[in-house]
């Protein structure tokens, strides 16, 4: 049986050896149901043990394996080789992040942003577990459920040119997460979170490019979250303008 071969062109960057990143080509046997991550694993096991990248779950849920595949941010464990058949597949580290080695990017900034929006339930007083769960209707759950399914894969940051231009931008996933808590009926932390997301480098930086929502592998739709947060902010601000005089 003749075997198809795919060429994987991977960015290599070895800070201890080379000053600059370069591309290296590997030939990998091609199977129809192979994902890009399988190809990388094949290379690491059989061709070149020095190739460096992150992965774990291989089922699109841990969020570690993001890379730019043919220029588009993707989970390598969820991108099939056959989608790129007949061509050389280019695998580069996620754009807009600084690169530690090969495909591994520095996540400090992203992690910092996650913490910044205080992603936990803020409540005056947590009731003791003996009193049972907080009730929440299916509708209330529905309001934020979509935004709670972010796997922190950072593809959206890599896709967002605004983040690319201005690293200070809070960015899609962090805002979506903030909105997830803002919309959670159990949370009482709006007053704490609003100032953070509505800061200068918060939601207002987003110019609705929308690519974040295109690349998001989990249907989080950060663009929607950002826009809704903007609307909340604007109505809130208008209210606080009107309130003192309106007397309502």
């Amino acid at each position: 049986m003749s075997q198809d071969i795919a060429t994987i062109r991977v960015t290599r960057y070895r800070p201890e050896k080379d000053g600059k990143p370069f591309f290296q080509d590997y030939k990998v046997p091609y199977r129809k149901d192979m994902v890009v991550l399988d190809a990388l694993n094949y290379i690491k096991a059989n061709l070149d043990g020095t190739l460096t990248y992150r992965w774990s779950c291989r089922m699109g849920v841990c969020g570690s394996c993001g890379a730019n595949v043919d220029g588009v941010p993707k989970l390598t464990c969820a991108s099939f080789l056959h989608e790129f058949k007949g061509r050389t597949i280019k695998v580069e580290p996620l754009t807009h992040f600084s690169v530690i080695k090969d495909l591994v990017v520095n996540m400090d900034d992203f992690m910092h942003k996650l913490v910044e929006i205080k992603p936990w339930i803020i409540k005056e007083k947590e009731s003791p577990p003996e009193e049972g769960e907080y009730r929440q209707s299916a509708e209330e759950l529905e309001r934020y459920a979509q935004f709670s399914s972010c796997i922190n894969c950072m593809l959206c940051y890599s896709a967002c040119p605004v983040y690319g231009l201005n690293e200070k931008f809070l960015g899609p996933a962090a805002i979506a997460l903030a909105y997830r808590y803002i919309e959670d009926s159990r949370d009482e932390g709006k007053d704490v979170r609003f100032p953070i997301v509505h800061e200068l480098e918060g939601v207002w930086e987003c110019t609705l490019v929308g690519e974040c929502s295109v690349v998001c592998p989990k249907g989080v739709d950060p663009m929607l979250a950002i826009q809704k947060t903007k609307i909340l902010g604007a109505t809130n601000a208008l209210k606080s303008l009107v309130m003192p005089r309106g007397g309502k």
Binding site: K44, G49, T50, M59, I100, M107, E126, E133, L141, Y181
Partner: protein, 562 residues
């Protein structure tokens, strides 16, 4: 100091940080905590919330029967009582559980559970649980994280734990962490096997580290196979698919389980279902595909509504990885390694017996799972015993003086540095790590799989011993310091070989069939000789096996029929 950022590790960290705000808690994890493998749990977590039809005794009985009476019953009783509190706490911290129309948390049926008591968040409970815990942990200023630090050994001196050594993966430097108390929660070791639901990072590091520190491993022969994995990748199709009413069919379109578990059918426990599938395969009633034999999981009669509302992830996985729409087509599945019942021996407070060392989660063995874990008990176990271990460690730390970094400990750290950089990293000639890894996985799959016998196990013990020798000369191709995943893999493989060896030896010693441990040469359960735990100690040569009694409180062993 906590090693591991999965469900158990994070819960321990929160418990410790809450107990004593002045305590400095460190979480050391080889991946960012939200990447931990807890993330991939799908089905749900068990706890008695519906007291109108459910109670603690029933949950305890189900668990004990599921365990084939090898579970410690005091641990199980403690577990079922704490389970509801832990679940409610998780809800209070924001976990987006699926809800009933009246706003209460919904529950679903699960294998081996006699009533509906499994809480769920669609079919991504692990993901939501992990992210909820992680995000909640960010609230505590006294929790410090060391993300992408790989722990290599536990520092023990004078009969007590003084800390650990760990590599900062990013810079490649080894550092010693001094700690008054250490909780290990490094998860399972499924990667010892070829065909597993477990992620790349599940390499049994903590088990091996504790083992090397002199702590025994318990129930290691009990390896759970899950009946429904996608044949090509080992991706798990959650038990919830059966809990919601899915059927298993053989080649003749027959619900073959009626021959094996007539009363429970698809809701039978995992060990029995996995063996039933193997029998169907052996007797030629399965389908043949490019990735071996398989049976069908049929969800088509559930309808698009149920599948989309309750099993969206199953749909996503089947569509993405098989190109199959479960609403209209059947999903091919076969059994594969899933979970380790065994692990580091602890008491019901997570204490390992080595002063200062606590353990929790899949890598620990409080022994509430015995010879077979019931689906959805594990996540709850991580919370209950994670919290216990965190509290235990914090209380112990409060009683202790500062750890000492005197000569013996410093020496240990230096020794560790030499082992890693001079021996593992420097060796120039020898085999590739991937070769040895592949052979180990093959050995375990073939000889220590669903069915075992004297011959196969003896062979496995020998083969693993050889591999351990060959490992001494294995080559790490990447010689750089910065982010050296090749080095990490070598250290992981080194850990895995130790763990694999304990599994093979324990399996050889248990000459009976119980729960997940099925010996073809001893097909019957033998309570007279083997109603006890096997524990494995490290020695200079081969592992030494000892026994420990099973605690039995109220439920006398009986035949296990479903």
């Amino acid at each position: 100091m906590i090693i591991g950022g999965g469900a158990a590790g994070l819960r321990a960290a929160i418990a410790a940080a809450e107990l004593d705000p002045k305590l400095d808690v460190a979480i050391v994890s080889k991946v960012y905590p939200m990447r931990s493998h807890t993330v991939s749990a799908e089905g749900g977590m068990a706890a008695v919330l519906r007291t109108d039809y459910d109670n603690f005794d029933l949950h305890a009985y189900d668990t004990i029967k599921g365990s084939d009476f090898l579970a410690d019953q005091d641990a199980v009783e403690f577990f079922v009582k704490e389970a509801p509190k832990e679940s409610i706490r998780l809800e209070h911290w924001g976990c987006p559980f699926s809800r009933d129309p009246d706003g209460r948390i919904s529950v679903r049926a699960f294998g081996g559970m006699s009533v509906k008591r499994t809480l769920f968040a669609t079919d991504k409970i692990g993901f939501h649980l992990l992210h909820t815990l992680f995000q909640t942990s960010l609230k505590f200023e006294n929790i410090h994280r060391y993300d992408e630090w790989f722990t290599t050994s536990i520092l023990v001196d004078n009969g007590r734990v003084d800390g650990v050594t760990a590599i900062d993966i990013r810079s490649g430097e080894l550092a010693s962490f001094l700690a008054k108390a250490v909780v290990i929660a490094t998860g399972g070791c499924g990667r010892i096997y070829q065909f597993t639901t477990n992620g790349w990072i599940k390499t049994g590091d903590g088990m091996a580290m504790a083992y090397r520190a002199g702590v025994p491993l318990k129930d290691m022969e009990m390896v759970q196979y899950h009946p429904t994995l996608l044949p090509n990748t080992g991706i798990l199709i959650t038990e919830a698919a059966r809990g919601e009413g899915g059927h298993l069919l053989n080649k003749d379109g027959e619900r073959f389980l009626k021959k094996y578990v007539p009363n429970k059918m698809e809701l039978g426990p995992r060990d029995i279902l996995s063996r039933a599938e193997m029998t169907e395969i052996k007797e030629g009633r399965a389908f043949e595909g490019p990735y071996g034999s398989y049976v069908h999981l049929d969800l088509t009669h559930l309808g698009a509504g149920t599948i989309e509302a309750k099993l969206p992830f199953v749909k996503e996985l089947a569509e993405r990885y098989l190109g199959i729409d479960p609403v209209h087509e059947m999903i091919p599945v076969r059994p594969g390694q899933h979970y380790m019942m065994g692990g580091v021996h602890t008491d019901i407070h997570g204490y390992t017996g080595l002063p200062g060392l606590y353990a929790a989660g899949e890598m620990a063995c409080v022994s509430m799972n015995g010879a077979n874990r019931l689906g959805s008990n594990s996540l709850t176990e991580c919370l209950v015993f994670g919290a216990e271990a965190g509290i235990g460690a914090a209380q112990y730390a409060a009683r202790q003086g500062s750890p000492n970094f005197g000569n013996p400990v410093q020496g240990l750290a230096l020794e560790e540095e030499k082992r890693i950089y001079d021996r593992v990293l420097k060796s120039e000639r020898g085999e590739k790590i991937s070769t040895i890894r592949a052979e180990m996985q093959k050995t375990m799959e073939e000889h220590v799989g669903i069915y075992r016998d004297e011959n196969s196990l003896k062979q496995a013990c020998g083969l693993i011993g050889d591999l351990k020798q060959r490992m001494k000369n294995a080559v790490v191709e990447d010689k750089d310091r910065v982010y050296n995943t090749d080095l990490v893999s070598a250290l992981e493989l080194d850990f895995m070989l130790d763990v694999a060896e304990t599994i093979a030896y324990a399996a050889l010693a248990r000459k009976e069939s119980r729960g997940a441990h099925a010996r073809t040469d001893y097909p019957k359960r033998d309570d007279a000789q083997f109603l006890k735990h096997l524990v494995v100690y490290e020695t200079e040569t081969v592992p030494r096996i000892d026994t420990m009694p099973v605690s039995i409180t109220r439920w006398k062993p009986e035949a296990r029929v479903y």
